[in-house]
């Protein structure tokens, strides 16, 4: 067997970035390593600090800065939640007045008297469809690129990388004309296909990064035991790669969930709007129902934020690992 060991050398970084939660072992060291023979040590002068500890002033400054930054990060989100309590559509101009008349009426109006649930359903269908197709298609390619050096391998990687740089407007015009000729404008399938152009290359990258962290010995063992390449992939690697698949799935879902440009252009009727488009329809040239917009925003933000917090650690390592390599 002449097959050279071309174990991908670029997985180490992905690996190291996944384990970034460990804290630096610091402090205490000087006292812990003191030789036991030494008689009861003289009390250390109060001024000496261990490594990694900073002066009270520096700590206070750090806390101060972080608190200010946290407030800046938190405030816009709280603000829109606060505005959503004001019953009148012009209340956003006088936020102080909302205190006296806060009510949840906007939420009931949005939930029961607008197309909110239709939009929500549309978003779920489109984002779900994008996720399922995208991950299925990307997983096999990610595996092939990770394990086999076939001719055309480099070109494929390069294509996947470049596709991630496409500005929305490059493909928008041709996709619009093509979809309109195929009568796929204003349809779920059309939008899902469009979203696949962004998620598939990215997920393939991401999955390649994840497959690189799975030892090749497992594949070899599978092959020795008589599995076909597809059997190895399906029975051994896919079960091991579940976390990676989950990250790719969440990434696709969040991307499709929050996409604005294509959805605004390709979905024409309120019955097909996704949440991102529906939200804009509250404040167009003809409408300015800021209170309903704010309430809808809160309703959209909560599930998205919950999902995000559940997966964020993996998402970060996946994002940087995927883009770092070519």
């Amino acid at each position: 067997m002449t097959a050279a060991r071309t174990q991908p050398s670029d997985h180490d970084e992905a690996g190291s970035q996944m384990t970034v939660t460990a804290e630096r072992p610091t402090a205490e060291r000087p006292t812990a390593e003191r030789p036991a023979t030494e008689p009861a040590p003289a009390p250390r002068p109060a001024k000496v600090r261990g490594r990694g500890e900073s002066s009270p002033l520096a700590t206070a400054l750090a806390h101060g800065t972080l608190i200010v930054a946290s407030l800046v990060a938190l405030f816009p989100v709280l603000y829109i939640a606060y505005i959503s309590l004001g019953p009148d559509k012009m209340d956003y101009l006088h936020p102080g007045a909302i205190f006296g008349k806060a009510t949840l009426s906007n939420f009931s109006k949005v939930l029961f008297h607008t197309d909110f649930f239709t939009w929500f359903g549309n978003s779920v269908v489109v984002a779900g469809g994008t996720t399922v197709f995208g991950v299925l298609v990307a997983a096999t390619a990610g595996y092939a690129v990770s394990r086999m050096r076939f001719p055309g391998h480099r070109q494929l990687m390069w294509t996947l990388l470049v596709t991630q740089m496409f500005p929305v407007t490059v493909l928008m015009v041709p996709l619009y004309t093509i979809l309109s000729e195929l009568k796929l404008l204003d349809s779920y399938l059309g939008l899902i296909l469009v979203y696949l152009t962004t998620t598939v290359p990215y997920c393939a990258w991401l999955m390649k990064g994840y497959f690189d962290t799975i030892p090749v010995e497992i594949d070899e063992a599978g092959r020795v035991d008589g599995l076909t390449p597809f059997g190895t992939f399906w029975r051994l690697i896919i079960p091991l790669a579940r976390p990676g698949l989950a990250v790719a799935a969440f990434y696709s879902f969040l991307t499709a969930w929050a996409e604005v440009a294509y959805a605004s252009t390709f979905m024409l009727g309120s019955g097909k709007y996704t949440l991102a488009v529906g939200l804009q329809s509250f404040v167009s040239q003809y409408e300015s129902q800021w209170n309903l917009m704010a309430a809808t925003s809160v309703l959209i933000a909560i599930p998205a934020a919950v999902v995000f917090y559940l997966v964020q650690r993996h998402l970060v390592s996946g994002l940087t690992a995927g883009a770092a390599k070519s």
Partner: protein, 333 residues
């Protein structure tokens, strides 16, 4: 059974063999790698149909005078065929140096470059600063982290709407500025203030990603390096300059590249903050969108031309950036 898991024979052995003919090579490569091709096929087909074909189609459109009046369209039951013509490179010439090209292209180009540079620099600086603070032993680190990534957790189209409320006349931002006696610019209508507002909002949205990635990079720098540096009497600044920054090189080169691509292509922030009727603050992406979809008649050809130009700019930048990184790495080795 030469089809090992990693099928590449070592380069040397391949060089020694005489080069077979093309057909034979194809046949050989097919029999050797057919399952790799089978696994890659779905992606290749999807990309070919959904990206390749539209891209070629789009490039062809840039060579025509297509707009929404002469493209194929359906009115009721009547199908009107396309009547646009091939006009060669006229669109490119018109965009780049035609009459009024300064207002149509170069002003947006300059603003796009400024926007990208300022946003990425500021975002990176703030993200690095926060990451350094978070990398210390501090109480409530987890809580800070939760709060600081909030702008990333909430979908951008939601938070940008919130900023629009805050930046409105009489909104939270101007109330705050007024209460400390600072001028209150009209963030959503004055051109210069609009640009500042766009940068502020985009920075707010982009800092969490930078911070979290850089924090990951910081935590992977071995503590021994700092210990050694301290033993040798390095000042905090020297430790930052000669331990932290080199240790972050990999992560930061990646996040800067990603930041540039994302900021350059940023659509949501500007589109939602100002709509399409604010030509001054439009970067090239939103301006191209306006040409193709925000006006009547829709100018498909010019919009596609902008798109192709944008993509070329990014590809050129990325290849130079990567070459520069590679050279830098060699220089420090």
């Amino acid at each position: 059974m030469a089809v090992a898991v990693q099928g590449a024979p070592s380069r040397r052995s391949r060089e020694r063999e005489p080069r077979p003919g093309l057909v034979q090579r194809l046949k050989l490569s097919y029999s050797k790698y057919w399952y790799a091709y089978a696994m890659v096929a779905p992606v290749v087909i999807v990309l070919g149909v959904l990206v390749g074909y539209p891209l070629v189609n789009g490039i062809y459109l840039t060579l025509t005078d297509a707009n929404s009046l002469n493209s194929a369209r359906q009115i009721g039951l009547k199908h009107i065929p396309a009547t646009y013509h091939f006009i060669g490179l006229h669109n490119y010439a018109d965009v780049l140096w035609g009459p009024g090209s300064y207002d149509r292209f170069w002003s947006h180009f300059v603003w796009t470059i400024a926007w990208t540079v300022i946003c990425v620099t500021v975002t990176f600086a703030i993200g690095l600063g926060l990451a350094l603070l978070m990398n210390q032993k501090l109480r409530a680190r987890g809580l800070y982290r939760m709060l600081l990534i909030l702008p990333w957790a909430v979908p951008t189209f939601v938070t940008v709407f919130s900023w629009r409320l805050m930046l409105a006349d009489g909104g939270a931002v101007n109330t705050l500025l007024g209460s400390v006696g600072l001028p209150e610019p009209s963030w959503l209508s004055d051109p210069l203030a609009m640009k500042a507002a766009a940068i502020i909002v985009n920075t707010w949205c982009g800092v969490p990603f930078m911070m979290v990635s850089l924090l990951g990079g910081l935590q992977s720098i071995p503590a021994e390096l700092y210990e050694a540096a301290e033993m040798d009497g390095a000042t905090p600044w020297q430790r930052f300059r000669h331990v932290t920054l080199p240790g972050l090189r990999n992560v930061s080169s990646t996040v800067v590249l990603l930041g540039v691509i994302w900021t350059f292509n940023q659509f949501t922030v500007i589109f939602i903050l100002f709509g399409t009727n604010a030509p001054d603050v439009n970067i090239l992406v939103t301006w191209a969108y306006y040409l193709g979809f925000g006006q009547q008649p829709r100018d498909f050809a010019q919009s596609a031309t902008y798109g192709v130009l944008l993509l070329s700019i990014l590809i050129v930048f990325t290849s130079f950036y990567r070459r520069w990184l590679a050279r830098n790495e060699e220089a420090t080795r």
